[in-house]
């Protein structure tokens, strides 16, 4: 069996890989390392998933380890609960963000609560992989940012990678976690590339740690998942305006890394939260409140939010107006009270 620790061939070390490949490799390595890891979902077997993230797993590990289930999300997650009760470590694929909704009762009433309900006697080490977010021209019900629903449910961990390396490391950590993890995969980053060796993946910090993707001095962009590349691009563009922006990639929405976020904002004194999810009731409100509670005396301006509009996700020909882009981020940065009017 090939484990995580296999030595790389020098030539392979610098090859670019996609986030999709890193996710696939994470499941493959987890399955090789631990026979209790089972993948299940719709079309995950023979087809390899509609995004091909599970490609080859059924061929390598058999249909019983990577299982095409009937088309019923509550049934899939409910069965995963029973499998986890018996000592397996299920990795469930929800085909799209909005197709996960039928499984909410299982997620909220059982997956999130079983450990607590049984005083720790029955933890459920389940990973629920959910491709989420827009930007791929999907028709209705294929582009939701559903993270706020999950964040609002105590008992779940909510994780989302923004880089190829994190996709691997965080998914391995999610599968290894004894807590249920909702693993949100930014589907428009599936084909993003970075130099990454799948045979010697770099260590990734455990779930719950944010990371500073770009250091800066004058304001902090707090973001995650699909909006991380947007913020990095905005930070580059902002240099022309004389703004030196720091970009914090949260990676984990639950647990939330108050420490890293607050440390950054205390340094810069200004903050903008950026995400695709709606602004009203979205994660940004919680994040802005936490930052304000912790950094009030360091703030030069109110914490602003750049979010999706408070509308049902638009049809694909209009989604570019909805998605927070570089210009909208820069507009928000411009409103951070750079010159005090006296």
């Amino acid at each position: 069996m090939t484990g995580v620790g296999t030595l790389p061939l020098a030539a392979e070390a610098a090859k670019p890989a996609t986030m999709a490949q890193a996710l696939r490799r994470a499941m493959r390595d987890a399955m090789a390392a631990d026979p209790s890891v089972h993948v299940l979902g719709e079309d995950v077997g023979t087809l390899g998933g509609v995004f091909r993230i599970t490609d080859g797993l059924a061929a390598e590990f058999g249909d019983e380890r990577c299982t095409d289930t009937p088309l019923a999300e509550a049934g899939i997650l409910g069965a995963a609960v029973g499998m986890a009760m018996y000592g397996l470590r299920p990795v469930v694929e929800m085909q799209f963000d909005a197709f996960a909704y039928p499984s909410f009762e299982q997620l909220i009433s059982h997956v999130a609560k079983m450990r607590n309900r049984t005083r720790g006697a029955m933890p459920l080490p389940i990973t629920v992989r959910v491709p989420y977010g827009g930007g791929i021209g999907g028709v209705e019900h294929h582009s939701d940012s559903s993270e706020a629903y999950y964040m609002a449910t105590p008992g779940l961990h909510v994780v989302t990678p923004a880089t190829v390396a994190d996709a691997y490391g965080l998914l391995r950590a999610a599968i290894a976690s004894d807590d249920p993890v909702v693993f949100l995969e930014p589907k428009r980053l599936y084909w993003s590339k970075a130099p990454w060796s799948q045979d010697a993946p770099a260590e990734v910090e455990p779930i719950g740690r944010a990371v500073v993707r770009r250091s800066g001095r004058t304001a902090t962009l707090i973001t995650y998942g699909p909006s991380v590349p947007v913020c990095l691009e905005a930070a580059e563009a902002a240099q022309e305006e004389g703004w030196d922006l720091e970009v914090v990639d949260l990676r984990s929405l639950v647990p939330f890394d108050d420490e890293t976020v607050a440390a950054s904002v205390r340094r810069t004194g200004r903050a903008v939260v950026v995400h695709e999810s709606t602004g009203f009731g979205g994660p940004g409100g919680e994040i802005a409140a936490r930052v304000t509670e912790r950094c009030f005396h360091h703030l030069e301006a109110p914490v602003l939010r750049v979010a999706g509009f408070d509308i049902p996700y638009p049809p694909p020909m209009l989604e570019r107006h909805h998605l927070p882009g570089v210009d909208r981020v820069l507009d928000a940065v411009a409103r951070l009270q750079w010159e005090t009017e006296n």
């Binding site: 089972h38 009937p70 049934g75 029973g82 009760m85 018996y86 006697a121 719950g208």
Partner: protein, 388 residues
């Protein structure tokens, strides 16, 4: 796996096109053997009961009497404020007891909130089985210890768990069967459908027992389902449906036993509908006179699971007045112990609220735990008359 050819045959133009029959169709499985019998199966008063093991009959009887007493005691404790709520299974004891006794040690039980009796008959501590309804914690027992899943409050949501557990056990090569309990109302839930479908597709070693007690709180079965019987629903999933008299403990035990055997043989799941009646109201908080006739209740009271079995046992000389009194006395002792233990205040630790949310407390939960601890310390200080 064969891939389809990339070259697709071009069809001739309309003038030259000749219709051909579609690929042959046949039913994927013969539905006839899956159909339930026209009448619920009964054993008491028949040769089947006469052939049954006397020790099993006496065990069933003892547990039925104990179970009835447990129900009346728990209902009384609710009226005294010792339980937050109690959904009684009086009238349904035959289903509850047979479900528990048919299981082997390694098998799993998936109860709903009305199945405390089955949980106790399985051997769990009667007080631990009531923590959910007393309200000192949600699940008072370690599910692994007796292989009993937590009492499930959201209807039918425990059924897919039973399927997943049975499936996992089979994948591991373990000889384990899961028995999942649900009511007639629960059969309307999507999770009922999804669980039965998954179970049949996976041939999972699981048995579903529907206790059709006539009512989902106030709604009668006629408003719940138009199926010929709930057992008939099995046919749509490709599994056998069985109908049984749910007040005949021997019949329920027999039918469940056969279904468990079938599951063990790798032949897949079975749906069993036990026709019974909820003699009490939904819970102590419900008023059943608002939606059903006293006459209907009386008819079912007469078809009493305890008296039916008692009749069989006395008729066959397996039980006499003295034996009946002994069983009743043992049940009284159980009730007295239950009363005594339930009248003691449960030990509560508010810090438990944070202890089991995740494997490790998040920094946010640590802060909130510290907050509550400080609040409690402050109020304890006030209580002691301390000056702050």
């Amino acid at each position: 796996m064969k891939k389809s050819s990339t070259s697709v045959q071009e069809l001739p133009a309309a003038a030259a096109y000749r219709p051909t029959p579609p690929p042959a169709w046949r039913p994927r499985t013969d539905p006839a053997p899956l159909l339930p019998d026209p009448e619920p199966y009964r054993a008491l008063g028949t040769d089947a009961a006469a052939d049954a093991d006397p020790a099993l009959l006496l065990r069933l009887y003892t547990e039925l009497v104990r179970g009835r007493r447990y129900n009346t005691q728990a209902t009384a404790l609710t009226k005294q404020g010792r339980l937050a709520v109690y959904p009684s299974s009086t009238g349904q004891e035959a289903c509850e007891v047979a479900a528990a006794l048919v299981l082997r040690a390694q098998d799993w039980l998936f109860p709903s909130y009305r199945d405390t009796l089955a949980v106790v008959a399985r051997g769990l501590d009667p007080v631990q089985a009531l923590t959910l309804l007393r309200g000192d914690w949600h699940t008072g027992y370690d599910p692994h210890e007796h292989r009993v899943a937590p009492l499930s409050t959201p209807l039918a949501t425990q059924l897919p768990h039973a399927v997943g557990l049975a499936h996992a056990a089979r994948l591991k090569g373990d000889d384990v069967v899961a028995l999942a309990l649900v009511g007639d109302g629960g059969t309307s839930e999507g999770d009922f459908h999804e669980a039965l479908n998954f179970a049949a597709v996976w041939r999972a070693p699981v048995v579903f027992l529907v206790q059709n007690n006539g009512f989902a709180i106030s709604v009668p079965l006629a408003k719940q389902s138009a199926a010929p019987s709930l057992a008939h629903k099995a046919v749509g999933y490709g599994m056998p449906g069985r109908l049984v008299d749910g007040n005949d403990a021997v019949a329920v035990h027999t039918v469940l036993g056969q279904a468990m055997e079938r599951a063990r043989r790798g032949e897949g799941p079975t749906l069993v509908e036990a026709v019974t009646y909820r003699v009490d109201a939904h819970t102590n908080a419900d008023d059943a006179t608002r939606y059903r006739d006293a006459q209907e209740v009386d008819t079912w009271r007469a078809h009493d699971p305890i008296r039916l079995l008692e009749h069989e046992l006395t008729r066959r000389g397996l039980l006499d007045e003295e034996g009946i009194a002994e069983v009743a006395e043992a049940a009284e002792e159980m009730a007295a112990r239950l009363r005594e233990r339930m009248n003691a205040e449960p030990a509560l630790d508010p810090m438990d609220l944070f202890a089991h949310v995740h494997a490790e407390r998040t920094s946010q939960l640590r802060e909130q735990e510290a907050q509550l601890r400080a609040e409690l310390a402050a109020s304890a200080g006030e209580g002691a008359g301390d000056q702050r």
